[in-house]
Each structure stands twice: as structure tokens, then as C-alpha cells.
């Protein structure tokens, strides 16, 4: 099976390529990238003139909800949402029911992904048993079963001694710790960013300090233990500063930001739209500015969705009672491309944050690049395509997005997963 993607603008930040080139795929691998490649026999051709040909996008922060909450999302629906959003790999967080804290769950997820999945799935394992923050999960066995990192996402490991041991163990296994940074007590009743808007709305707030304190703590612990630390979904200006300073000292701190945190502020909560209720919360204009600066200088080297599907019934509730989270897989790419049209990032810059950077952090071999021999995962983007966000047409079971009706530009029109072309038009 051969596939030639011809005449597109190939952007592969991992190799520093940005040129009009052809990409030849053979047997699920990138066989050749070059000028005007001859079309071999038995070869499917995809004309990509005017299109961007990028390594398959990787979302390193997704909630697929299976096992346990298949009413919210399944591995099948979530990976379809990913593909339709332009992603060829997703990294799924362990807060399933039961949580992915043992090899049986990991193996189940990988098996479901193999049989039902539309793209590659890389599970993250729990740091602690049941995400309870009390005892370490069997991290060695999880690693052997195929997890690509450890996280108690949704909460922090409150006990610093326990997290220190987890980091040491993760360092031994050469896997990263992914930290959801939030103090267990400070602002624990909060439902939105603590600031002027929470004061006006009378909603309990989550101060930025609740995130920053734990970012600072986890960085110190990573320096103490030599662990690779990745800070999930950074939302506060102070966190960006702490990460930037840490990067000057230490190479192994990385961080991600979600499209909603680089697009929206707490002003969006004014509507009491429960789809704006996320954890960490949408923060102030100042935080947004700091996040954009952090994206520019690569303090925040990854764009990840924190795709968190919920049922309509769960979100059609009083604001204080609705669960946290919004879906993101099917809006992430056009929102990220806005950073280009706003002159905040270059196109290769955006693509790096969605491909090679997460691949390096998670050490995903043969992913995130179009280097010869890499896995044939490709995302073909039409940068001109006008998109009106229509949650009703999402492949995800979740419709919980505040971006419904937004007019955006740029979307994936086809992806290649392991050499297989999926036309999205």
C-alpha cells in the first residue's frame, strides 16, 4: 500500500522543514519526503496543493471516559472526535472508573483502542491507587503495560513526601510525571477564577495562587528527584513565570496550555454558561496575556485539549452543581490557528506544539515527525477553510463547548493514521 501526498506545504518542525514537498508513504511508514517525487506503481495520490501537510497531531491531554463513563465518551467516539479534529494520537488521562491504576485497566484501554479506536491511544497511569493520594500505584507494572506517563489528573498529590517518592520512581522508569497543579484546600469550593467576575457573580473563586503554589512545589520536587515533570493545562500568570524560571535552571520541566485557556477569560462565565466551567478555571485578561507570552517564548511548549466530555444532563444544571470540563478535540486546531492569524505564533510554531514537542516529552517513538521511517501519521490542513463550530455535528458524545457558533478558519481535511488515509470532507 502506497500513498503519495503531493504538492502540499510540508511543515515538520522536528526536522526544520517548511517547503512545498511530496510525502510518500509505504507500509505504514514515511518512505520519502522530497521535491516532485515520481508516482510509483499501485500508489494512491492525494493532491494537497494549497494545503499544509503536517505530522499527525498529538493531543497529550484527553479524557476518553472508558471504562466507566461510556455515556460521556467511549474510546471509539473519542478517537473519532480526535481524527475529525485532525489528531492521529491521543494521550488519555487515568481518571476513568475504575481509574487506570493497574495493568488490567491499561491493557483494556489498549485493547479497546486497537479494536475500536480510530487513532493511536497512549494511556497515562495513575500516580496513586484510585487517585486517592495515599499509596503509590504499581507504577512499574503500569509502565510495562504501556503507559507513557503518570498523573492523578483532576487533582494534585497533596502529600509532598508521596509525590517525591512517585517522582523518584518515575525517574527510575524514565517516564514523566504530569501534574494537575492545585492546592487541595485553597479555593477548594471554587467553581471559577477568583477575581472581579467571581466577586460580581457571587460564585466561589479559585485563586491563581492555588495553582502557583503547587507548580512551585512540584518544580522543586522535580529538581530534588531528577524527575521529568510536565505541568498540565497551565492557567495562571504566576505559573508561567515559575515554569520559565525553572526552565532556565533545568531542562526537564515542560508545560502545556489548552485552547480555552489561550482563547477565553473569566468574562465568558458572565453568561452562567456551564460549558465555561472548567478546572483549572478560565482566568483573567492578565493571565491570558501571560499565557500568550509563554506560548510565544515556548515556556508553554505544548497545546493540549483537556477534552472533557460530559452529558447534556450533567451540564444543564445550576452553575455550582455542573461538573467541570469542556470538550476540545474538534475545536483545538482552528483555535490554535487563530494564534497564527493574530501573529502570536508562526504556523510551524503551532504545529510544533501539537506534534514534535508532545512526542519528545512523552518519548513516543516515530511520532510527531515526518522523518523517513517514522509512523505514517499525517494531518492535512486546509488553512483557508471557514468553520462554524456546530456541537451537534461533533463525533464526540460530548457537546459541552462554549465555542458553539464561533466562526473560525482552518481545519483538518484529511488525516493519515498508520498509512491509512481518512478523508474528512
Amino acid at each position: 500500500m502506497r500513498l503519495l501526498i503531493g504538492g502540499g506545504r510540508v511543515i515538520d518542525p522536528g526536522q526544520g522543514i517548511d517547503a512545498k514537498l511530496d510525502v510518500l508513504i509505504e507500509d505504514g511508514r514515511i518512505a520519502e519526503v522530497g521535491h516532485k517525487l515520481p508516482v510509483p506503481r499501485d500508489c494512491q495520490v492525494y493532491e494537497a496543493q494549497g494545503r499544509i501537510v503536517a505530522p499527525g497531531l498529538i493531543d497529550m491531554h484527553t479524557h476518553l471516559r472508558e471504562p466507566g463513563r461510556e455515556d460521556q465518551e467511549t474510546i471509539s467516539s473519542g478517537t473519532r472526535a480526535a481524527v475529525w479534529g485532525g489528531f492521529t494520537s491521543v494521550v488519555c488521562m487515568p481518571n476513568t472508573q475504575p481509574p487506570n491504576d493497574n495493568q488490567a485497566v491499561t491493557k483494556f484501554i489498549l485493547e479497546q483502542a486497537r479494536t475500536e479506536g480510530a487513532c493511536h491511544v497512549f494511556p497515562v497511569g495513575c500516580i496513586t491507587k484510585g487517585q486517592q493520594g495515599e499509596e503509590l500505584a504499581e507504577m512499574g507494572e503500569l509502565a510495562a503495560s504501556g503507559v507513557v506517563g503518570f498523573s492523578d489528573d483532576g487533582r494534585s498529590v497533596a502529600n509532598a513526601e508521596l509525590l517525591r517518592r512517585a517522582m523518584e520512581y518515575a525517574a527510575m522508569l524514565d517516564l514523566p510525571i504530569i501534574s494537575h497543579c492545585q492546592d487541595a484546600h485553597l479555593g477548594h469550593q471554587g467553581v471559577m477564577h477568583e477575581g472581579l467576575i467571581s466577586t460580581k457573580l457571587g460564585l466561589p473563586g479559585m485563586p491563581s495562587a492555588a495553582e502557583e503554589i503547587i507548580v512551585a512545589r512540584d518544580i522543586r520536587l522535580a529538581e530534588l528527584t531528577g524527575a521529568r515533570l510536565h505541568i498540565a493545562h497551565v492557567s495562571a500568570a504566576g505559573s508561567v513565570d515559575l515554569i520559565r524560571q525553572a526552565k532556565f535552571r533545568l531542562a526537564d520541566i515542560t508545560a502545556e496550555v489548552t485552547p480555552h485557556h489561550f482563547t477565553l477569560t473569566d468574562e465568558a462565565v458572565y453568561s452562567f454558561d456551564t460549558n465555561t466551567k472548567v478546572n483549572p478555571p478560565l482566568r483573567s485578561k492578565d493571565d491570558l496575556e501571560a499565557i500568550l507570552t509563554g506560548l510565544e517564548d515556548e515556556t508553554l511548549g505544548v497545546i493540549a485539549t483537556d477534552h472533557a466530555p460530559h452529558t447534556l444532563a450533567e451540564k444543564e444544571r445550576e452553575f455550582t452543581l455542573a461538573p467541570f470540563g469542556m470538550v476540545g478535540l474538534e475545536t483545538a486546531l482552528p483555535l490554535a490557528l487563530q494564534l497564527v492569524s493574530k501573529d502570536l505564533l508562526t504556523l510551524p510554531g503551532v504545529i510544533a506544539r501539537l506534534t514534535i514537542n508532545p512526542a519528545r516529552i512523552l518519548d513516543l517513538p516515530h511520532k510527531g515527525t515526518l522523518a523517513v521511517g517514522s509512523d505514517a501519521d499525517v494531518t492535512i490542513i486546509n488553512p483557508e477553510k471557514k468553520v462554524i463550530v456546530d456541537p451537534g455535528s461533533f463525533k464526540s458524545k460530548g457537546r459541552n463547548t462554549p465555542f458553539g457558533g464561533w466562526e473560525l478558519q482552518g481545519a483538518a481535511e484529511a488525516v493519515v493514521v498508520s498509512g491509512k488515509l481518512i478523508n474528512l470532507q
Partner: protein, 311 residues
Amino acid sequence: MYLHSKHFLDIETLPPEDIVLVLSTARSMKEISARKIKKVPTLRGKTIINLFYEPSTRTRTSFEMAGKRLSADVVNISASTSSVAKGECLKDTAMNLQAMNPDILVIRHSSPGAAHYLARILDCSVINAGDGAHEHPTQAMLDLMTIEEHKGAIAGRNVVIVGDITHSRVARSNIWALGKMGAEVTVVGPKTLMPPRIKELGVEVSYRLEDVIPKADVLMILRIQLERHRQGFFPSLREYAKLFGVNRRRLEGAKPDVLIMHPGPINRGVELEPEVADGPYSVILDQVTNGLAVRMALMYLLLGGGSADRL
């Protein structure tokens, strides 16, 4: 003159001319409750539902009586004795009530935005009777009416709001309402119960009651919830009363004609000394009387009435 919206949800976005219209209409309504026959046929054939998710004496009774004095049919539902207790969600409850075709739904709920949510999904008019710590707009209207009755124009008056500002919908609605009418507002209370950036709502902030009492034309004292000290907002009720309780000794420094207001229910001896609550400057029961007039006015205006001269 008519109201700009078919709902009455918050003061923050309410145009000042609507405040003026409600107040002037309420003045005409007040007279009805003083008549021998306290009932007019204005809203005959209209249905009003009071949907209360929180306990309430004053507000619920006030809305009920307001509807009845205007001859509307009024139905009261409290969460504890309805299908809410069986787990029915707010949306289903509201949609089922709407199916019976009411004209106004009055909602009291502990979650900010609950009234706004219902206004979005229902066809009838929605009145916010208090949504968590967000707003209590009819309370602010009755407070304005009471101040006006005793002090004349509100513009330029110094109003001091005392107590738990963070958790108070009464404080928020009054800050907006008094600001729109040109009053100077000061909030005073422990820093632990002062929400961040409250100054940006156009108020002065103080943490010492005795500093701000002398300038006050009105002291609006908020209820302090008894469980707050267990949540660590202050060390004890005793210390709260000592630092922020309004008592006769503190009032020695006040203007001779200062008004004492409280939205109720009062924790006597905590935020307010009983002698002050029942004393000569207290207009606390006037507030209750005016609450009825304000709610009558609002129901009349929301159901299409204009400036009311003859009722």
C-alpha cells in the same frame, strides 16, 4: 413607561430608569395595602408561581401576598416538599411548571445564575428572589424605597453596608442599586468576608466599623450566618459581635438621624444589638412593608403595565 425586560434578574444590568419606574409604581401600590379592602383586580386571571429552593419567611410571603393583593392566582412550591426532594432537576421542574402556563415564575435558589438559567429556557417572566450570593434585586428595590421614604433623594447619601459581603446577595444588589442612584457606598466587615476587587464595583472598603459609622446616613447590617466561624472566616461569633456588631455604644458616634436597616432574619446580639434593632432609628419593619409594594409593582409592570396612576 415600561420596563426594558420581561424578566427581573439582577440590578447590575438594570437600566436606572427601570429602577425609577419600579419605585414610583411601588409608591402607588403601597396605598393599596393600607386600604380596608386590600385587593385590586389588576392581575385577575394571571398565575404566579413561587418556586423556593431555600427556606424563606419574608420574601416568600411577600411575593405571595403581592400577587394576591393584585388578584393573581399564586402557587407556592418549596423544594423540600416537591419532586425536587425526589431528585428532579431544576430544568425538569421548571419545564413542568411552564407546561401549566404561568405568567410569572419567582425563583429563590442557592446557586448563582439559577434565575438567569430559567429566564433562558422559559417563556414566562422570571423574577429572581435571590440566587446564591449573586443578587437579590427585589431586596435592593425595597431598600431604595425605604431610604427614599426617610431621607428623600438617594443621590449623595452615605450608605454603609456592614458584615459578610462575600456571601451576600443583598450587598451585591444594593451596591449596584445605590451606585446607580448616586449614593456613596462603603462596605465594612472582616477582610475574610470581603470579596476580592470589591472596590471596582465603586465602593469604599473599610475594616473598622467605628471609622465609618460617623459619616453614615444609612447603616445596612447584613445577617451573619452562624456556621461561618466554623468555616474559618472569623474566630468566634463573640469576637465578630465585638468587632462588627452594631450596638448602642458604637452608635454614639453616628449621625442623630442614622437609619438602621437589616434584610432579616436577624441574629439578635450578633450583628445587631436587640435594642438597636427595635430602637428609634430602625426601619427594619418598614423594609418589609415596602417589600410588598415593590413586588406588587414589579408583577404589575412585568405583566405589561405601564406607569401606574390609578389602580
